[in-house]
């Protein structure tokens, strides 16, 4: 019995010593501090500054007006009056309009055919071609949704005019027979920063942690190389105690940073923030743990302090796409979805976005939450196994 107690006590002492040594190593390494502290502090600000204008507005377009009628000028006025579109001028013909497009003076061409006013006057359908420059889908989307609104407005106007012309037979008839209204959930202003930043925050947590941990591993390998295979700064302890001790150190450093990123960054920049603090902070615990253990697993693939960057940095892009933030997971092929399943950020993004942007409670994101705990267990076991070796 005494022996067991003694073993347990010494185990905890070694855990504490690992933790203390790791804390010393982290705080005395400018490179690691850059990833552990500076990156979580400044990257969210940099990203939000890039995307903070939120909306694509006043996209320039030009008009080829072959109708030259009050009706066609009214259509151009309607388009110019929208928040999304900005009229830059009449082109004399299609080739001049194409030249403006080539010079990037505008990104869309509205062509009003010569029979436009006649068609409108005689209650026939008027067809108006619009040419979209397709380099950025955001511009296309902006034009398209403004044009749909114009189509609807013209439709209402024309129907009302017809009723007026029909006289007594249709008197009192309300031709706007149905109202429809669109509501946007999660990102009510449809802003780009409001959409992308909550997910990016989770990826920053995971990737900065992995980068820092990989760098610590590479540095330790560097020391081993100089000292004949032994790291002089390593603490004598079991694999389990070593892994837990180190991860406790990382979690302690990340606790205040996580609060800053997940609570204060959305507050400062007016991003969606409708979740309850206890929900997303509890949710994020397994994300921190699984990311830290995953970082310890990745240490096995890093042989040198600096090459860790060559191995880890590009994975941010892969993990961003696998997370389903830009390309939805339901549209992915099965193998890619499975690969995404084993990345903590995938579940972190899904759960955090649902809590933070859509106002879900912790109990409404059971799958991401349990998956994160499973990944925590798996990466913990892997980290311990790889440490023994």
């Amino acid at each position: 019995m005494k022996k067991v107690v003694k073993y347990v006590v010494s185990w905890f002492v070694s855990l504490f010593r690992v933790w203390r040594r790791e804390f010393y190593l982290v705080t005395h390494d400018a490179g690691v501090m850059l990833f552990f502290v500076a990156l979580p502090l400044f990257y969210p600000v940099a990203y939000t500054l890039i995307y903070n204008p939120e909306l694509v507005e006043e996209v320039p377009f030009c008009v080829v007006d072959d109708s030259r009628s009050p009706q066609s000028r009214e259509l151009v006025r309607m388009a110019d009056a929208t928040q999304s579109m900005r009229f830059i001028g009449y082109a004399s013909d299609m080739s001049e309009a194409r030249r403006w497009l080539n010079e990037k003076a505008c990104y869309g061409i509205l062509v009003i055919p010569s029979d436009y006013s006649v068609k409108i006057e005689t209650h026939q359908q008027a067809v108006v071609p619009f040419y979209y420059e397709m380099s950025l889908l955001m511009r296309y989307r902006t034009f398209m949704s403004a044009l749909t609104d114009i189509q609807m407005a013209v439709g209402d106007e024309e129907r009302q005019r017809l009723v007026a012309e029909a006289g007594d037979a249709a008197a009192g008839l309300d031709v706007t027979a149905i109202d429809s209204q669109a509501f946007f959930l999660g990102d009510v202003t449809q802003g780009f920063a409001s959409f992308v930043i909550p997910g990016i925050l989770i990826l920053i947590i995971q990737q900065s942690m992995i980068l820092g941990i990989a760098m610590l591993g590479g540095t330790s390998r560097d020391r081993q190389r100089i000292n004949g295979g032994i790291d002089p700064l390593a603490i004598e302890a079991t694999a389990v105690a070593t892994v837990i001790g180190k991860v406790l150190c990382y979690i302690l450093i990340y606790a205040p940073l996580t609060l800053y990123m997940l609570h204060y960054v959305p507050l400062i920049f007016g991003l969606p923030h409708s979740g309850v603090a206890t929900d997303y902070l509890l949710f994020i615990v397994p994300l921190l743990l699984s990311s830290a253990f995953m970082g310890m697993v990745m240490q096995a693939f890093v042989s040198e302090r600096e090459s860790s960057l060559l191995v880890v940095v590009f994975t941010s892009l892969i993990f961003l796409f696998l997370s389903g933030l830009t390309w939805p997971r339901y549209a992915m092929d099965f193998p890619w979805r499975q690969l995404g399943d084993i990345i903590p950020a995938t579940w972190g993004v899904e759960g955090f976005v649902n809590i933070n942007s859509n106002g879900a409670t912790l109990s409404q994101v059971p799958i991401p939450y349990t998956m994160l705990w499973r990944l925590t267990a798996i990466y913990f076991l892997l980290a311990c196994l790889l440490w023994k070796k």
């Binding site: 995307y51 209650h123 017809l162 037979a169 209204q181 980068l211 560097d222």
Partner: protein, 386 residues
């Protein structure tokens, strides 16, 4: 000349001696390009999972549900009997939007009481949110038009005149270059070169500053007879060759295998790729000269390289960014490669319009030469600060 040849030989031996080079120069760029192409193979993530809340249960509401389901964009995967139940499904992430048909909808519509159709799209997920919005809106618009037309017919107007009034103004969409609004074309053409740029900059910094870290930079300079220019040419040219081949291979995957739009002569894109590779090397060389320290230079290049995906305006247009932020888009090489791709491969406009982008790519290596004296100093006295 023999200095150049011996430096190139030396560099080729170094490249062959470490698997990290094979990994970073070939496996990562090609692997990532294949990843993007495979992941986005479908082009458009249609069949967005959505739900319907039908409180009316009339012939008209059932017709609308059939119309919703028939659109390419939507996949009605569940029905709920209240707004709250549907909202919960959004929060659980099961659906990306829902369409609410109110009580007594058909009755009120026919009687002209203007009932309201509400539809909800989850914009926290941009693409599915947008697509569900588009699908819902189309059905709301056509239903409005057809009900209005039905009423006008009932007042005795001619059927022919009314038909056109379902949609008096129709905008005919012409999508230049990418008529399918295919995300794959758009994302692969920007993100694959982006990853290539990141890896070129990392490898360039790594191979130069590692010489300083390990103290081999003296031998490196000696093999080039003491000339930093010859030393760099000898070191960089093998990289330029390998990265250009990798880049052209990625282009062949996009334009050849996947038939992405290539509306310009092939040599234009190949030239752009080679200039782009050299520009990225020049950018990295400049960073190494200012900060001849392996760890610092690598960290800077990593941080800038990842940010460059956002700052170049692949997704959010540069002209809509804050001016003070947008200005940084001019200092990353991948921005100019992207603009050349847009002008040439996508839109196929005369080369004249892209002339300055080619010039900009050519300027990067020239700027790098201005700081070489610092790099030379560091190479002569290699001190490693961890």
């Amino acid at each position: 000349m023999s200095g150049l040849v011996s430096t190139m030989r030396r560099e080729m031996r170094r490249l062959a001696s470490r698997p990290i080079y094979l990994f970073a120069m070939m496996a990562v760029p090609i692997g990532c390009a294949l990843f993007f192409m495979s992941l986005l193979r479908e082009g458009l993530p249609t069949k967005v999972p959505v739900a319907v809340v039908d409180n009316d249960n009339s012939a008209l509401s059932r017709q609308m549900i059939r119309d919703l389901d028939a659109t390419q964009l939507l996949d009605i995967n569940s029905y709920y009997d209240s707004y709250h139940a549907a909202l919960e499904a959004v929060r659980r992430g099961e659906i990306y939007g829902f369409f609410v048909i109110p009580n007594e909808f058909e009755k009120n519509a026919v009687a002209g009481h203007s009932p309201t159709l509400n539809y909800y799209s989850n914009m926290a997920y941009f693409i599915p949110g947008t697509l569900s919005f588009k699908g819902f809106k189309t059905i709301a618009v056509t239903t409005t038009g057809s009900v209005a037309a039905m009423q006008l017919v009932s007042t005795g107007l001619e059927r022919d005149a009314v038909g056109a009034l379902i949609q008096p103004l129709a905008v005919q969409d012409h999508l230049i270059g990418n008529p399918w609004s295919n995300y794959s074309i758009y994302l692969c053409n920007s993100f694959a070169p982006g990853v290539l740029a990141l890896m070129i900059m990392l490898v360039t910094v790594f191979s130069i500053c590692e010489e300083i870290k390990r103290g081999t930079s003296v031998a490196w300079l000696e093999s080039a007879r003491g000339s930093i220019i010859v030393a760099l040419l000898g070191k960089m040219l093998p990289h330029t060759l390998i990265f250009s081949i990798v880049g052209i291979f990625i282009q062949s995957l996009m334009y050849g295998y996947n038939h992405y739009p290539l509306n310009c002569p092939l040599w234009v894109m190949i030239l752009a790729m080679v200039l782009f590779v050299v520009a990225c090397q020049g950018f990295a060389l400049f960073i190494c000269s200012v900060l001849p320290n392996l760890r610092l230079a690598l960290s800077v290049v990593s941080l800038l390289g990842v940010l460059s995906f956002s700052i170049t305006g692949f997704s959010f247009p540069v002209e809509n960014m804050y001016g003070a932020v947008a200005i940084f888009s001019h200092i990353v090489p991948v921005r100019y490669y992207f603009l050349i791709y847009v002008d040439q491969a996508l839109n196929g406009i005369p080369l004249y319009y892209s002339r300055w982008y080619f010039v900009a790519l050519a300027i990067f290596p020239l700027v790098a030469t201005t700081m070489l004296w610092r790099l030379k100093k560091a190479c002569k006295n290699p001190i490693y600060i961890p």
